[in-house]
Symmetry: C2
Subunit: 306 residues, 2 copies
DNA sequence: CGATCTTACGGGATTCGTAAACATA
DNA sequence: TATGTTTACGAATCCCGTAAGATCG
């Protein structure tokens, strides 16, 4: 292994195939003496003559015949192996594990993953939908390659690529007094009973934070685990609820309305969060590209919608 | 194939195994920066990072994991292939076809082949026993690697390694008048009925030649194909016969005697005959070595016998 | 004489090792 | 600070191409 080079094998195969040093040299894009030297070195390393050269004819020796089998096998093997790796490098093959916070798992993540899958048909995609913190943990521990989630504060070991802003708003019935306001301020929502996500949700943390910042103690009427439940309660006129608008993408909002809150709109920044310690796979790089692109499209669509 | 070198694969595997550039460098007998450069070049060629290096820890990237599979496979393959070829080069494995003229096929050839087989247990030996000319033809056409036969005249395309002299003599009954002579001359054998090999035999040609040279027309009483037949006829007192002494190696000579003929002994030179156009396989070289050695021993044994 | 392989040799690229710089726990 | 990787750079080596030489048909 230490001695014989791939070039020499390549050259040997060319000479074996053509049974001519000159033709083989042309095949290898080499001068004939250079090719000759390659064969010579290979023979020296192996300790045996591989070709019988006569002025008019080149033929394989017994050892040459044996080496031909070995060389062909090695050549095929390495070509296949490198092709496979190239597929992996170019992103044609591989495995990508995406973790997504609940609001992202419903629309944004699938949208990006669909594009990646379209570009690279043969790959192995996986989506974990977990709460924001858990999603990021998956990235930290290496189970997931990327998390789609709100920006984290403690992120020294993470790379956070900002994608778009997810504005916080309030959802209420269409016949609710708030629905008539053009712009909703924090003080406007204070009087009504609130339905909130339970404490493990990052949405809840965000909402609590905003209420605190605006000097209002939140007194929740209900704590729920799923957005559907919250909307059901709101439809039943049991209260109103604050949500980032990304949660409303695939939701039937008939009878309900959504309003952003605050004069200076409140938002969380959605990021593609990856490990800083692990270098991105080509597939991950492609995924991040698509994230950026889809994020731009999301902004455009918002512009049109408003 | 054109780009990645075996050294790079070797280096990559070392780093994969140790997960340390420094240790890997020691394994590869390389300075650490040189090894680093190798990895770097490999990564450039593949277009992807293979290792994540942090000051305290080196780990494989996703692409690295994939390349590890490929590299291992290639490494194993090439190592096995080269080992196999090395076996062949060193003569441990291979195929050797020996052609031997009748007198050689009985004793000399088996003796040499036994030694070759003892040295190299796993090889594929073949023995063709044919008349001298046919044996040489087998070498010319490439069917046999070597012929053990009397020297040929037309041998421009052959290499003839002289082994020993095969003296021509006469075989007669122990009670035959010739048996009482200390030295037998050509004129002494003339009066008796002769039993000869048929014309396709090289022995017959040699005998005819010698009779002609000594001015005696040969009038054969019998023409036979096999030496056994000739000896049977001689035992039955139906005549005498001329033979090279090599024919008598494994023969029961009770009741018979052999005498060399001529004041200046007549002989044919037994050679190991190989193709000049095909370079010898390592196995053939070993065979020729053993031929030479056994030939020397034959001479010694003759010295002891006389 | 012509086609083909080998030898000789100079130039350029590759690769190595030493030394210094750099990064992180 | 100590460990371990990268960068910088001069030197040795390897490898190629051109030109001349050798060999056989």
């Amino acid at each position: 292994m230490i001695n014989v080079s791939l070039r020499q094998i390549e050259v040997f195969l060319a000479v074996s195939a053509t049974l001519s040093f000159s033709q083989a040299a042309r095949l290898c894009h080499l001068s004939q003496p250079a090719l000759s030297a390659n064969v010579k070195r290979l023979e020296e390393v192996l300790g045996a003559r591989l070709f019988d050269r006569h002025t008019r004819k080149v033929s394989l020796t017994a050892v040459g015949v044996e080496f031909l089998k070995a060389a062909s096998s090695v050549s095929e093997n390495i070509e296949a192996a490198l092709a496979r790796v190239q597929d992996f490098v170019s992103g044609k093959r591989g495995r990508l594990v995406v973790a997504a916070a609940p609001s992202m798992a419903a629309t944004f993540a699938p949208r990006v993953m669909a594009r990646v899958a379209a570009d690279h048909p043969e790959l192995d995609l996986e989506l974990h939908d977990e709460l924001s913190d858990l999603s990021v943990d998956l990235v930290r521990q290496g189970t997931a390659d990327v998390a789609l989630a709100p920006a984290m504060d403690d992120a020294s070991d993470l790379t956070q690529k900002q994608l778009f802003r997810d504005y916080l708003g309030v959802v209420c019935r269409a016949d609710h007094p708030l629905a008539r306001l053009k712009t909703v301020q924090w003080r406007d929502v204070r009087p009504y009973p609130h339905i909130v996500m339970n404490r493990s949700s990052s949405v809840r943390q965000l909402v609590d934070q905003q209420f605190a910042r605006n000097g209002v103690g939140l007194r929740p009427a209900f704590e729920v685990a799923h957005v559907g439940t919250m909307l059901g309660l709101i439809s039943a006129d049991l209260g109103i609820g604050e949500l980032p608008e990304s949660f409303l993408q695939n939701i039937d909002m008939t009878g309900l309305v959504y309003r952003r809150i605050g004069s200076k709109a409140t938002y969380r920044t959605i990021c593609a969060i990856t490990s800083r310690t692990r270098s991105p796979s080509p597939l991950l790089a492609a995924f991040l590209e698509h994230c950026e692109q889809v994020a731009k499209e999301v902004l455009l669509e918002r512009g049109k919608a408003s």
